[in-house]
Subunit: 167 residues, 2 copies
DNA sequence: TAGACAAGTTAGCCTTGTCTAACTTTTGAT
DNA sequence: ATCAAAAGTTAGACAAGGCTAACTTGTCTA
């Protein structure tokens, strides 16, 4: 492939490190994407059970914004993967593994949400963004988010205190 | 569907607002997910062109961690969607629309990355998380991220200044 | 208790994203 | 100028996630 045909790229100016250190990230991100839907389902099922005592496919469909057959197919997959149990024409239940996953997802979601809110975001937007972001936050970042959300007020006080003391 | 079969949900405790206000988010998130791959490709293509003068399928494949035929099929789709142009056995080029998208993605990526770094995250992790997060950040949140990243030092100074003045 | 209606399922189709295997074109070194 | 290796393409398989249409089961009310 000859290096002819050059193209102007005025608009886009990545810095040096970009091309190489970003490369490996893609693989990991795509891996994360594969589990997103399962996590969303499991989390939603847990919420429905908590809120209504059961998780019915029709409610899952409504909340997820998809049709009933889509839900059925996805639930079959989740059952195959051991996250839920189901019987024909009945509600869905989480296995131990499913509950563990739901709990973990809930935890991440809570932290991301609190973090966004503590940053000054409105609830609507925070809720929506948290839904998308929560699946892509490493443990390290999550810890930082948690610390920030919990500590932002305290930090300010500390900072002011220090400023006062140090003068 | 009778409301029998109840299940213990000790582990998972969503608060009241959760079930309803989170619902609508899913639809939006799924919409965002559809464009992620296209955005990743376009951004990568822009970077390759910038860094090497051209974007070859083989490099895209390496960076994305997939095989050549996968890249070929995806590039066909991007071409169909008007984001790139390509000729058989040649490198790939961005259309105006593709360049615009790449620029926008780059911009988001930069902000998210700077934000994560300013939060104290190491470069590796920040890079990886930014890759996943950037597609799920609303304009509102992005603005907040940008302000935080740019202003965290300034804020501290202001805060200290205020603390001093107000006493 | 009988049906009507709501909920759930099944079948079949489409698109995307992934792969391997096999083939063709381009490039570059001798 | 030739030809081997690298790059690119095509064909075909498969799973996931989505849909509509048509059928079955459960529930609840008259």
């Amino acid at each position: 492939m000859k290096k002819n045909d050059n193209q102007e790229v005025e608009a886009v100016m990545p810095d040096e490190r970009a091309v190489d250190s970003r490369a490996e990230a893609f693989v990991g991100v795509r891996a994360a994407r594969r589990n997103e839907l399962a996590e969303d389902y499991v989390e939603l099922i847990a919420e429905l059970i908590y809120a209504k005592g059961e998780a019915r496919p029709v409610d899952i469909a409504t909340k997820m914004g998809v049709t009933a057959p889509t839900v059925a197919k996805t639930l079959d997959r989740l059952a195959r993967e051991g996250l839920i149990t189901r019987a024909k024409y009945r509600s869905v239940f989480l296995t131990e593994e499913g509950r563990a996953l739901a709990k973990e997802c809930r935890h991440r979601h809570e932290i991301v949400l609190r973090f966004l809110l503590s940053l000054g975001l409105d609830l609507e937007t925070a809720e929506r963004d948290a839904e998308g972001i929560e699946h892509h936050v490493s443990d390290r970042t999550l810890a930082l988010f948690a610390a920030f959300a919990d500590g932002s007020r305290v930090d300010r006080r500390n900072l002011m205190g220090e400023a006062l003391r140090s003068n």
